[in-house]
Amino acid sequence: MDVIGVVASVAYQFCTNAAFLLLCALGLIIILGMMNIINLAHGELMMMGAYAASASYSRGAPFWLASIIAFVVVGMFGAALEMTIVRRFYGRELGALVVTWGVSLVLSQGFLLLFGPFMPPIQIPEGNIALGQYSFSYYWLAMFVVAALLVVALWWLYNHTDIGLQARATMQNPAMARALGVDTRRIYMMTFTLGAGLAGLSGALLAPTTSIMPFMGQQFVASAFITVVVGGATNVVAGAVGSSLLLSLVKTPVGFFLGAFLGSVALLLAALIIIRLLPDGISAAIQRRLDLRNRIR
C-alpha cells in the first residue's frame, strides 16, 4: 500500500463525510437554533429540492441554476408552510415535531402520486483525480468547498447584517427583542424560509449522487438528526461545523477499517457519549469558550 494514497484517501473520505453531514444538517439546525423546532419534514424538503433541481435540469437549466431554483422554490414552500402550519406551534416544541412528521408523510406519498416513482436523473459533474491507486471525485471535493462557503455565508449573515443581529437577539431573548422593536414573527418566518431553502439546496446538491424519488428524504434524516443533536442549538454555525467535523472524525476511520455498519453504530455511540458529557451540544461548549475569551479581553 502506498502511504500517500492511503492518507489522501482517508482525508478525502473525511471531507466527503463531513460535507455530507453538514449539508444534511444545515437547514435543520438553523430552524432549531432560532425557534427550538425540529422539522421532521426536513428530509422531504430535501427531496423537494432534488425534484425542483431535476425538473429544471431536465428542461435544460445548467446544474448551478437548477440548484438556485431548488433553493428558491423550497424556500417559498417553507414560507407557505410556516404561515399555514408551523406558526401555530411556536413554544410547543413537541407539537411541532409531530405536525411536521404528518407533513412529511403527506409530502412523500403525495409526491409519489403526483409525479410517479422517479424523476429524471441529474448527471454528476464528471472528473476525478488519481493519486496512487485511489481516485477522487471532483464533485465531492467541490461539495466540501460549497459546504464551507455556505457556512461562511451564514456566519456573515448572522454576524455582519442587521437581520442577523435581530435574529441573534430573538434567539437569546424573544420577549426582550420584541420590546426593542424587533418583529420576531418576521424573523421566525425568514428563518424558516432560509432553513427550508437550505434544505432544498442541499437536496439539489446531493441529487446527482442519488436516485431522485419520493422517499429519498429518509436516507438523510438519521445523519441530519445526529449532527443537529450533537451540535446543539446555542450557536448555530459553530454547532453545525463542530459537530459534522467531530462525527466525521469518528465515522471515517471506523467505517474504513471496520465496515459501514460499525461506522453508523460508532456515529450513534459517539452522539450518546457527547450528549452525556455536553448535554447542550458542542455549540454550547464552543459558545462558553468564546464568551470566556471575550470577557478576558
Binding site: T16, A130, Y134, S137
Partner: protein
C-alpha cells in the same frame, strides 16, 4: 435442433467428474439444460385444445376471484405499481377472451419448450474440467436474438374470462408494511375466499404471508425474482432464482474479464445468499473472490467502499445492491472514476437504473436477466405495445411485472384444464408441468419444485446506457431444489431451504 445434437449435450451433462463430482455434475446438468430446452414442438393433440365454458358447462356465473397484494404506497411502491398494472393487463386480456400460447408438458419432469428453437445453442466445454463455454453460438446481433420463436403469443382462448366466468382482481395495498400484509392475506383468504392469491415483492413479505397461505391451503403465486429455496406445496414461484442468474453471470465475467472478483452486497438475506452463491460457484470457472463486503441497507454514501475496491484492484465487481440508498453507489462510483466492469443479478431488470441514472453511471454493467423491457424479440415488442396502450405513462416494464403477467395467464390456463377453480384441482393441473409462451420466451414450470425454468440473457449496458444482449441461454432450470431432493408432489413440504443445508456450500461459501 436435431436429435444428434440433443445427444451430444446429454453427454456433456454426464461427463465431468472429480472430487466434487456429485455436486458438479448437477451444476453442469443445470446449465446444460440450456441445450435441452429447445426443439420440442407443441404436441399436435394439444393444439387447439378447447376448454371453453360451453363445452363443460359453467356451474356458476359468479366471478373468479384473484386476490392480489402489492405495495401501492410506501417505500416499495415503485415496484408494486408496475406489478399491479401487469395484473390489470393480464386480467383484461383474459376477460377479453385472450390467452398466451402454452400447454402442459405431458410426462411431468420432461423438459420441453413449445416453440423456441435456437439456431446455435451454446455448447458447454467438452473437456469436463471447467464450465467454459467453447462456442456461444456465434455473435449475437444487437437487435435480435439468435433463435427463432413465435412472434405473436397472444391467441384466442375461446371464451371470455375463465370457464365462462369473469376473472375479478381483488387488489389491495400492502403499504410496504408486513403487519398490513398479514392482515390483508387473511382478509383475502378467509373473508373474500379468493380462488387464487398472487402477491409479494420482498422476500420478507412472502415469508410474512406464507404461514397463512399454508394454514388455509391457499393456491399462491409468488412472482418475484428472489434468493431461492422455497419448497412449499401451496406456493408456486414463477420468478428466477440464484442458480439461474449467478452462475451464467460469473461464468461470463470470469471468461471475459478475468478471475478476480470483488463482491459488494446488501447486508440482508438476498444480498448475503446471492453472495454465497457467487462465492460457492466462482471456483468452478477458476475465478476467486478477492474481497467481499456487506453494506447495511441504510448506507447511502459510498466513498469508503469505493476506496476499498480501488485498493483491492479486482478484474470486475459483483454489485448485489438493493434499495434506493444503495442505488447511489453507481453515480458515486462513476464520479470517482471507477471503471471496473460490473455484474449483478438485480440491476436494470427490476429498478431500471439505466433509465433513472444519467449515463455513464451504469456503464459496463452485466446482468443475466430473464426479462427486461429491451428484450429484442417480436413477441416482446408486441407485449410492450399492448402494455403501453393500456398504461401510456408507465416508465418501464421490469421482470417482476412480466412474471406477474404470464403467471396470471398460466393460472387461467390451468383452471381451464381443471374445468374448475377448485384450488387443489388447479394445483394438480399446474403440477402437470407447463410450458407457457411468455414475452421473455418459453417458460417451463417444473412440477416437482414449483419453480420455473427461464430463458436467460446476459444484458450489457454501454456508456450511453443502451442495453445489448451479449449471450443467451435458451433455458436454464431452477435446479437447486431438485438437487436437494425436493419433490412437492410426492412429499409436500412447507419450508425455505438455505445454502447451509447443502454440503457443497460448506466447502466454499459458509
Amino acid at each position: 435442433m436435431t436429435d444428434r445434437e440433443v445427444e451430444s449435450h446429454s453427454e456433456v451433462a454426464l461427463e465431468s467428474s472429480d472430487s466434487v463430482s456429485a455436486d458438479r455434475r448437477t451444476v453442469v446438468k443445470g446449465i446444460a439444460a440450456a441445450g435441452l430446452g429447445a426443439g420440442v414442438a407443441l404436441p399436435t393433440y394439444l393444439r387447439g385444445f378447447d376448454y371453453s365454458a360451453a363445452a363443460y358447462g359453467a356451474q356458476t356465473s359468479a366471478p373468479v376471484k384473484m386476490g392480489f397484494i402489492e405495495d401501492e404506497s410506501g417505500n416499495l411502491s415503485v415496484y408494486g405499481i408496475q406489478k399491479l398494472h401487469a395484473a390489470q393487463l393480464a386480467v383484461s386480456e383474459i376477460n377479453d377472451g385472450k390467452t398466451l400460447k402454452g400447454a402442459p408438458d405431458i410426462g411431468a419432469g420432461v423438459l420441453g419448450a413449445a416453440a423456441s428453437i435456437a439456431k446455435n445453442p451454446p455448447v458447454i466445454s467438452k473437456d469436463g474440467t471447467s464450465l467454459a463455454i467453447v462456442d456461444d453460438g456465434g455473435d449475437k446481433s444487437p437487435v435480435d436474438l439468435a433463435y427463432v420463436e413465435d412472434a405473436e403469443i397472444l391467441i384466442d382462448s375461446g371464451e371470455k374470462g375463465i370457464l365462462g366466468r369473469e376473472l375479478k382482481l381483488l387488489s389491495s395495498d400492502g403499504q410496504s408494511n408486513n403487519a398490513v400484509w398479514q392482515q390483508l392475506a387473511r382478509k383475502l383468504i378467509q373473508e373474500d375466499k379468493v380462488d387464487v392469491l398472487v402477491a409479494g415483492f420482498a422476500s420478507a413479505e412472502r415469508e410474512a404471508i406464507r404461514p397463512i397461505v399454508d394454514q388455509f391451503k391457499q393456491l399462491y403465486f409468488y412472482t418475484n425474482q428472489y434468493e431461492g429455496g422455497v419448497a412449499d406445496a401451496n406456493t408456486f414461484c414463477t420468478g428466477p432464482v440464484c442458480e439461474q442468474q449467478v452462475i451464467p453471470t460469473v461464468q461470463y465475467m470470469v471468461e471475459k474479464f478475468g478471475p478476480k472478483c470483488y463482491t459488494i452486497a446488501a447486508d440482508y438475506n438476498f444480498g448475503q445468499l446471492t453472495a454465497a452463491w457467487t462465492k460457492a460457484f466462482i471456483p468452478l470457472v477458476s475465478g476467486k473472490i478477492i474481497g467481499e463486503e456487506f453494506i447495511p441497507l441504510s448506507v447511502s454514501e459510498f466513498s469508503q467502499v469505493i476506496a476499498r475496491i480501488q485498493a483491492a484492484k479486482p478484474d470486475w465487481v459483483m454489485t448485489l445492491l438493493v434499495g434506493q440508498n444503495h442505488h447511489n453507489y453507481y453515480p458515486q462510483a462513476a464520479a470517482a472514476g471507477l471503471k471496473y466492469p460490473m455484474a449483478s443479478t438485480v440491476n436494470m431488470a427490476q429498478g431500471y437504473e439505466h433509465k433513472r441514472f444519467a449515463p455513464p453511471s451504469l456503464a459496463r454493467m452485466h446482468n443475466a436477466i430473464q426479462y427486461q423491457l429491451e428484450v429484442p424479440t417480436a413477441r416482446n415488442r408486441a407485449f410492450v405495445k399492448r402494455w403501453m396502450t393500456m398504461f401510456p405513462d408507465d416508465p418501464y416494464i421490469g421482470e417482476m411485472a412480466q412474471n406477474t403477467y404470464f403467471t396470471i395467464h398460466l393460472y387461467a390456463k390451468a383452471a381451464r384444464l381443471a374445468h374448475t377453480v377448485d384450488q387443489q384441482k388447479v394445483k394438480r393441473c399446474l403440477e402437470m408441468g407447463w410450458t407457457i409462451e411468455a414475452p421473455e420466451g418459453s417458460v417451463f414450470l417444473e412440477p416437482g419444485t414449483h419453480h420455473c425454468a427461464h430463458p436467460i440473457r446476459l444484458a450489457y449496458c454501454d456508456e450511453k446506457h443502451n442495453v445489448r444482449f451479449v449471450r443467451d441461454w435458451p433455458m436454464i432450470q431452477a435446479w437447486w431444489l431438485q438437487r436437494l431432493g425436493v419433490n412437492l408432489i410426492r412429499t409436500p413440504e412447507f419450508k425455505q431451504y438455505t445454502p447451509d443445508e447443502d454440503p457443497y456450500f460448506k466447502m466454499f461459501a459458509l
